[in-house]
Symmetry: C2
Subunit: 149 residues, 2 copies
Amino acid sequence: MKHTDKGHIFTEIVLEVFKLSGLLITEGDKITETNGLSSARWKILGALARSTTPLTVSQIARVMGQTRQAVQSLVNIMNKGGLLDFIDNPAHKRAKLVCFTTKSQQIYAKLDAEQIPWANQQSGHLDKTELQATLTILKKISRGLSYSD
Amino acid sequence: MKHTDKGHIFTEIVLEVFKLSGLLITEGDKITETNGLSSARWKILGALARSTTPLTVSQIARVMGQTRQAVQSLVNIMNKGGLLDFIDNPAHKRAKLVCFTTKSQQIYAKLDAEQIPWANQQSGHLDKTELQATLTILKKISRGLSYSD
DNA sequence: ATATAATTGACAACATATTGTCATATTGAC
DNA sequence: GTCAATATGACAATATGTTGTCAATTATAT
């Protein structure tokens, strides 16, 4: 069997996603390194910031496409470091809700102040319609895949 | 400062790339698990398969957007497991060229036989023009980012 | 040709992430 | 309401990946 035209492009996209993920982590580490953070920890804060309601560890993991164990580990470390708080979850005795602290709010705002001009600059020479199409396609691909846990 | 329209979409793409990368690794692990491989090792073979010339470890790392140390580690393990061979590189005394073995050729062919219908199926309901735009955009983003080593 | 810079393999320390397992909590079928 | 299935936190083992460093090799500038 051979790839269809679309199957071929799809495969190239998959490989490019892997590559880009590695490069973006490196880029994020550069931005966060002076704040005692890392890409992985910044992403946790980002998941919280983008949610309208507080999230549990499991919910964060699903938003991020990772296992709850990986997220739990980071969240616990960040909690010890004063970057995250747990508050009681009325809907679940064990699954607490994860929240920003004052400290992490400040750091996150600072990181945003660096990320925004970076994103604007990186996307400046890219076509808006193509960017929109890219986001649409990536989301559709994600939707068809299952979680590991 | 605020995100431009394009900067906003760009940021969403970045987060979706992280998520998708995690989901795709899980998917790849499912496909490879019966063959004593993993996503990470399959990607090494893929990088070699897609190149017209044999590659050094550093070259593989650059193609994959990872550090040479990470790739070196996997390549050494795979070499011990009979999945990769080193051959002398006329252009460099230490940097050997990495090659398939008969064993890895067979496994890779088998994985391809699973990946192809999967990619065709996953992309079946997606628009070809949008897929092409996605690949173009992702490659352009990669090009603007630097390697960690 | 020589000196300097960049590349590469090797090794170690550490960060990040998956898999497996267990006990506890919640959900859903009946 | 009961019971099975599912979801969750905790913990351990392992795989994957980055950073830092050193010595050896190659490339580059002069």
